[in-house]
């Protein structure tokens, strides 16, 4: 019998340069250090039962990442959180842990959209950005080529706005379904903003069962 838990965590500092695959390993090792009974798959090469929601591109920060893991024993949430917190590497911190139903669908099939914040590392002309956002939003299709495949970026942009606080930042809500993922750097490229002059932070991942409560109109 396995027990399923969901961790919501932040990914900061040097950990932003750890890829999705390596984050998987990071969790496995954290569980081993915390001496928690992580469940493994059966077979010749047993793998730890860890599922991640929509992968976060290398270099992005996040206030809101989700991972599901399966334990061989049931544990109370606060001791689970304490054990993990003591074993996590610098830059990863837990926001919350919940126990969830084993029968819920796999996280990666369950993700609908991601909200990102884009902070500028250098001064940009807000007026110009507003104009290019306007141009982009008013298009019906935005065909781009990524890794040799062409796709339409426009329907993947659910929301895009500039927040005129000091300092200014962009807020974007992009589709992140299996096979239909909008990438913030592709949007930035359409806006003629070099990615290396920005800091991109994921603020939220929206899951399918949350959509009903949302006014996303999906």
């Amino acid at each position: 019998m396995n027990y399923r838990y969901r961790i919501n965590y932040s990914k900061k500092e040097g950990m932003r340069y750890t890829s999705n695959l390596d984050i998987h390993k990071m969790w496995e090792r954290t569980f081993r250090r915390a001496k928690l009974p992580l469940a493994y798959s059966q077979g010749f090469h047993p793998q730890p039962k860890i599922q991640q929601a929509s992968p976060l591109p290398l270099g992005f920060l996040s206030d809101f990442e989700i991972v599901d893991f399966f334990l061989e024993q049931e544990m109370d949430l606060s001791s689970l959180e304490t054990a993990l917190t003591n074993s996590l590497p610098f830059g990863i911190s837990i926001n919350s842990i919940t126990q969830i139903n084993l029968l819920e669908p796999a996280l990666q099939t369950h993700t609908i959209a991601s909200e990102y914040q884009v902070v500028f590392l250098e001064e940009f002309d807000a007026i110009k950005i507003i104009e290019s956002i306007h141009v982009l939003i008013s298009k019906e299709t935005v065909i781009r080529v990524r890794r040799g495949k062409s796709y339409d970026l426009r329907p993947l942009i659910l929301d895009l706005e500039i927040i005129l606080e000091n300092p200014i930042y962009l807020k974007m809500l992009l589709m992140s379904k299996d096979g239909a993922t909008g990438r913030p750097e592709e949007v930035l490229s359409e806006l003629n903003i070099p990615m290396e002059l920005t800091r991109i932070i994921r603020k939220k991942i929206i899951l399918a069962n949350e959509v009903l409560d949302n006014k996303l109109g999906l």
């Binding site: 340069y17 390596d22 081993r32 493994y40 047993p46 270099g59 590497p89 610098f90």
Partner: protein
């Protein structure tokens, strides 16, 4: 602090542009970040190859833990940036920095370079230059860090002599701490850099090359070194630990994939087999073992501290570990069913090794590797690695039968007396092994032959021997490539140009430094990486320095030649090496020196240490009688 802030800002802009930016940010689990201002002596440990290779280096890990245990010191790390990062560092004028506090290396007190192999020399110069530190020792005043280096390659320090302030010869556990203490005193006294160098030159095992003057004969061969100061030791004897200290257990856990993601536990140091080509086997004497309890404890603590899924038990010859069966059984009892991979490399060729590996076989399974090194009877006698073909075939059959599909076999070619017939026997042997595999498990059986090329290393019985000519190496490799075609066979080799580069650097004298510097200036680096084609740059550098590369590698040395590394003493006497060289010429085998002492000199050199720790840790036989030529008594 401000400096750090602005460096972090700069890094945030350049890291998205490089491959694997996680190499350059630190923050790994078990890395140690101390408060810079609260510590008096700051050491940066530098591995001059990329992070992916350097991170798991055991020597560096030992020193990192040792130094950071002290309240008055800190140790941070730096590695070679890959070309993309180097370009951006140079373009933005960012000096090379440490991973922990992102401090420029030039602001440290001491930089300690690990030089396990010679092909890191150009990278070492490159790292100094990237740190905005002059590469030549004489150009560095006391405003620059003290540059020290250690590791296997430094047993011949001469080619790097003008660049390194001091070499720490031998095992680094104590000597580096002693250098730190001397440095602290010196700093308090406010003396000059030359005072510092003189001060540390009195520490056992420290070689300060600027205090020694090499002299040459008119034919270019080495005459002698002259000490420039009468207080400086004429010969620098390596340092060893009488008893192996506790193994490190707080391994740095990388946040990105690297070459070895594992806990490494040294089960013993040294080797008693006496293979005549083996540098490690000669310089790491005497043989010292850890107890089974100590090893188990290190693994348990290491796993708790890291969460790693792999454990490597390291030694030069695992089967020779006295209680190897007990060790393996204990490990299998304690750790099976925990989804761990446990590797035990360097096993002897016998079916006992297969038993050992089978006990370690958990749910995850590694490969099986054996190193026959030579295939013909004659070559085995020359290199002193006797193996019976029958035993190899029986062992191979067991390996395949018990579930391994691939057997890797390591061989060495390139000894000058080797003939094409000897090489053909390697191919024939691989085919016989494959046939045995097919008999055991059918067409799934595979044999991978890894064939390296011999480099006559300093401080080995083959230091008098010449390197094979490139043409001859190619001919031998072509023969193997032709023969080792077909289903189930795979053949790996080393480019002869790479071998010859390694040979120059291993066997060079101090004049070679100019060649290294010129080669680096003209773009040579990452010489250990086959995809960097530096050979022509090196040839050009030899021409510019007016030196003949063949002089260093293709010349058989006369038996009484003085070598540029003779004043570095690994505790193994040159007369012993000479006897072994003559034995190889007359095809005479010598056995395991646990059984019979051949008086290599190691026990005499370190008798004082042995006496401190009497009992079981040293596996050299006790020599109870006063030494006379042929009277070696073996106890028990």
């Amino acid at each position: 602090m401000n400096q750090e802030k602005s460096l972090l800002n700069q890094l945030e802009r350049i890291l998205p542009l490089v491959e694997k930016p996680g190499r350059y940010v630190g923050g790994e689990y078990n890395s140690v970040v101390k408060n810079w201002d609260e510590v008096s002596t700051k050491i940066a440990l530098v591995f001059p190859d990329i992070y992916d290779i350097g991170l798991s280096n055991l020597g560096l890990q030992i020193l990192y833990e040792n130094i950071n245990q002290r309240g008055d010191c800190l140790a941070e790390r730096a590695y070679s940036p890959w070309q993309d990062m180097e370009d951006l560092l140079r373009k933005n004028e960012i000096p090379l920095y440490s991973l922990e506090t992102k401090t420029p290396l030039r602001d440290f007190d001491i930089l300690g370079f690990t030089l396990p192999y010679e092909t890191l020399y150009t990278n070492t110069l490159n790292l100094l230059n990237l740190s905005q530190i002059p590469i030549r020792s004489e150009k560095r005043g006391k405003e620059f860090p003290l540059i020290v280096a250690g590791g296997h390659a430094t047993y011949n320090p001469e080619p790097m002599a003008p660049f390194i302030d001091a070499f720490l010869i031998g095992e680094g556990e104590e000597i580096l701490l002693e250098v730190i203490d001397a440095y602290k005193e010196w700093k308090k006294e406010g003396l000059s850099k030359s005072e510092l160098l003189l001060k540390i030159s009195s520490i056992d095992g420290v070689y300060v090359p600027s205090l020694y003057d090499p002299q040459y004969n008119s034919d270019g061969t080495f005459l002698a070194v002259k000490t420039k100061n009468k207080n400086v030791p004429k010969k620098v004897t390596k340092r060893i630990m009488g008893k192996l200290p506790y193994a490190p257990t707080r391994f740095i856990v990388p946040s990105i994939g690297v070459v070895h993601n594992r806990i490494a536990v040294e089960i013993m140091r040294g080797c008693t087999r006496g293979c005549r080509f083996c540098h490690a086997g000669m310089i790491n004497r005497p043989i010292r073992e850890r107890t089974v309890q100590e090893i188990i404890h290190s693994i348990e603590t290491g796993l708790e501290n890291t969460g790693f899924e792999e454990v490597a038990l390291l030694s030069l010859s695992s089967s020779d570990y006295t209680n190897v069966l007990e060790l393996v059984e204990e490990i299998s009892n304690k750790f099976s069913g925990k989804n761990l991979t446990i590797s035990l490399p360097s096993l002897r060729i016998d079916s006992f090794s297969v038993d050992l590996m089978e006990k370690l076989k958990g749910s995850r399974q590694g490969g099986f590797t054996l190193a026959p090194e030579a295939a013909s009877e004659r070559m085995r006698k020359i290199i002193n690695k006797p193996i019976s073909e029958e035993m190899l075939l029986t062992t191979a059959f067991e390996i395949f039968k018990r579930g391994w599909h691939t057997l890797k076999l390591y061989f060495m070619i390139g000894h000058p007396s080797e003939t094409l017939e000897d090489v053909a026997e390697i191919a024939a042997l691989c085919k016989k092994v494959l046939a045995v595999g097919v008999k055991a498990i059918g067409r799934r059986a595979k044999v991978h032959a890894g064939v390296s090329t011999f480099v006559p290393k300093p401080h080995t019985p083959f230091q008098w021997v010449a390197c094979d000519q490139q043409e001859s190496i190619r001919q031998k490799q072509n023969l193997l490539r032709e023969e080792l075609k077909g289903p189930g066979l795979k053949f790996n080799w080393t480019d002869p140009k790479e071998t010859i580069m390694e040979a120059w650097l291993s066997r060079g004298d101090r004049r070679l430094a100019e060649v290294i510097e010129t080669a680096w200036k003209n773009g040579a680096k990452f010489d250990a990486w086959q995809d960097f084609k530096n050979y022509d740059i090196w040839m050009q550098a030899f021409r510019e320095a007016n030196l003949d590369p063949d002089f260093y590698v293709h010349r058989e040395r006369s038996i009484d030649e003085v070598f540029p590394w003779d004043h570095i003493y690994p505790g193994v006497k040159k007369t012993y090496l000479k006897t072994e060289y003559l034995n190889s010429l007359s095809l005479r085998l010598r056995g395991d020196c646990r059984e019979q002492c051949y008086a290599c000199g190691i026990t005499q050199t370190f008798n004082h240490l042995r006496k401190e720790d009497p009992g079981i840790v040293w596996k050299c036989p006790n020599i109870s009688q006063p030494r006379s030529k042929n009277e070696l008594s073996i106890p028990n």
